[in-house]
Amino acid sequence: MRNESTKTSKKSSKAVKVAALAAAAALALAGCSKSGGDAAATTAAAEPTTFKVWWYEKDTAMASTWADALEELKAAHPNVTVTFELKTWDQIQKAGNAILDSDQAPDLAEWNKGNATAGSASQAGLLTDLTPYAAKYGWDTRLPESALLYGRYTDGLMGKGNLYGLSTYGEYVSWFYNKDYFTKNNLTVPTTPEELDALLATLKSQGQTMALGGAGYQIVHLAYALALTNASQQWVSDFQFFQNPVDFAPTSKEWGYAAAKIADWKKKGYFDSKVSGISPDDAVAAFEAGKNPLILGGTWLDDGIQKATVGFDWGKFQNPGALSVGSAGNLLVIPSRSKAPDLAAEFIDLVLSTKYQNELGNSGGLPLLADAAALTNPVTVKSYSVFDSIVKNNQLGMYPDWPVPGYYETQLAAGTKLLSDGDAAAYLKTIGDFYEQNKP
């Protein structure tokens, strides 16, 4: 379920890309890789005795890197008992605020971005304002605003204001393809929506389909990826930050296009006939086993696909269109009830150090402040080539469920239904009504 969070996004490892992210490009780069650093050692004035950490990364580059950083933290503070607990994305999504508002709140946690989660928690005063720490450690200068904005909230709305959480990596959604299959069949990577359609038609004629977990998060991402095909950054701001009304009509070139496209693909048989019942896990497994030559997925799949895929070479390409699904990664937050906020900040800084940013990149993650030259992991390199272009062109379009609480579940249920009955109008009505009824 953690995967569902896909929403996380990341900036690429290279400083360059990061910069690109932010419209205000260049600034960040230089500072990034250098300064930060291994600021692990801190003073131990009135040290807390326990340190409780939660995250829900599992089998990802973040999980292993953060675990290593936590070890270093332990070593630096031998008198602190560190307890770590692996949560699920689902748990944070559904019961996150409840936990923060209790004695059981952790001292440091990975948290979901967006108005529905970090937003409402910050509004309720459940998260520590990190602005002073950002100044102290220089996070606000080392990271570009495009990476910081996911942690900024005003009245529970993301984008500006105090800093309540920090992204320490990036992620995005793109296509994974079976290179061997493409080569063998003389297929080329599509660069326009039309070419993508043609590719799917060709696959169909060869008795192939894309893999898609229609019963889980993957349909939510596919729909948004298609909605972003013709979207502008202004539209993203309208949709995510309610700057202007969003059109959900069948004629709209964002959501209307997405719904029509999925209905059309379904009609033409570009999906497995039972796509709406297939779980994302099974879809990924099918791609890894070479059964389907194509799957739309997030960078959180990189590592797993690299390890599980044997017998063929795979590659990635950006979804053709204006923007891509993606953003800076999940936030690290310090709950207001944290008993060790200083230690938590120290850990965040450790994670942002070049040492661990490099490690993150070399474990297959997308770091924000890595030394580009130090990255050697082939998976990271694969992911970079795509992320590079997304970031350079300011094409990150965030994730579709952030605007209002319950939107993820609503889009999932509606998307699964769309895959099963092909009723684009009903889909648009469901997701449009929910948006309108719940927006602030």
Partner: protein, 329 residues
């Protein structure tokens, strides 16, 4: 199983609890004079019950009249949540789906259960021994014992469209056209969940009915047999008719359980595709903890409580009347 059996047993005993009334008339004298002191023994149970259950329920009713996201203070909005509820298509739909569950958890298991229990009790047992019948009963009871979350995980796995056991089996034996997209299509999802609940429930009804049959007077059966009645005739005329009280108990308890269904939906479909498997309990949970419209979720839960209570009273009354009728005869 929990809800079902709790309720079932409760109903059963409540039925029984009426007998003290009649007994009282006979025996009350002996204890009467010192009865007052017994009220003392009610204190722990009633205090705990009123605090935990009563307090929660009435606080929930209060929340249902407010607008609240669970943080800060609830804001009183009067009937607003209920007015909205009346116009919420999904809410009404969730009750329509509840009827599928009533069919799957109550009506079908009752009919099938009586039939299977009768076969086991007075067909299999007399010919193949009690052990055979007890073994079969235990086999069919097994799904009752497992937590519903695990039942959900197990069946979602069995029904997976491409990797699942069921479809692999169907394709293997050449029934490809029946290898459906069980949980992925609107039309089949509620149907699939219903089948699963029949699988879960049937053991409960069989056990209750078999025990009911053991209290029936065997001489009736024997007399009918001598008169040349076939097994099926005897089943219809004697067994079915005499099991009235058990059937009432089972219908009541399983219907209440069906309207409360939550875990299988939570684990298997999340209410989808679309709203195809949305049920009242899950709908309420969704608003409590996902959209954090706590007041709205509380309103759904309150409506469900009231409906369940009314329904229970109606079923109990019908049953009492039937029993009284039967007794007069």
């Amino acid at each position: 199983m929990s809800a079902t059996e709790i309720a079932s047993a409760g109903k059963k005993s409540s039925h029984k609890a009426k007998t003290p009334d009649t007994q009282k008339r006979r025996k009350a004298k002996g204890v009467g004079e010192r009865r007052g002191q017994y009220y003392f023994y009610l204190i722990p149970g009633l205090v705990a019950f009123i605090t935990v259950i009563g307090g929660s329920f009435f606080y929930n009713v209060y929340i249902s009249f407010t607008k609240w996201n669970g943080l800060g203070h609830p804001r009183w909005v009067g009937m607003q949540n209920y007015t909205k509820l009346m116009h919420d298509h999904t809410f009404w739909q969730s009750f329509v789906h509840a009827f599928y569950f009533i069919a799957a958890m109550s009506i079908i298991p009752t009919f099938l259960g009586v039939f299977l229990a009768a076969l086991l009790f007075d067909y299999v047992a007399p010919r193949f021994g009690n052990k055979s019948a007890a073994f079969m009963r235990a086999g069919m009871y097994m799904p009752q014992i497992v937590p519903l979350t695990i039942t959900g995980i197990l069946w979602a796995w069995l029904l997976a469209p491409t990797t699942g056991v069921i479809n692999n089996f169907l394709i293997k034996v050449g029934l490809d056209q029946f290898a459906l997209n069980w949980l992925g299509e609107e039309k089949t999802a509620i149907f699939s969940l219903s089948i699963i609940m029949v699988w879960v429930q049937i053991g409960y009804t069989i056990v209750i009915f078999m025990s009911g049959m053991s209290r029936l007077d065997p001489s009736l059966q024997e007399a009918a047999q001598i008169d040349g009645a076939s097994w099926f005739q005897r089943f219809r005329v004697i067994t079915w008719a005499q099991l009235g009280p058990e059937i009432g108990v089972v219908l009541l308890t399983t219907t209440v359980a069906a309207l409360k269904v939550f875990a299988p939906v939570y684990v298997m479909t999340g209410g989808g595709p679309g709203t195809a498997t949305q049920v009242p309990a899950f709908f309420s949970y969704f608003h409590f903890f996902t959209t954090t419209k706590v007041g709205y979720g509380a309103a759904v839960a309150t409506v469900l409580s009231v409906l369940l209570t009314i329904l229970a009273v109606i079923i109990l009354n019908i049953q009492n009347r039937q029993e009284q009728g039967a007794n007069k005869r």
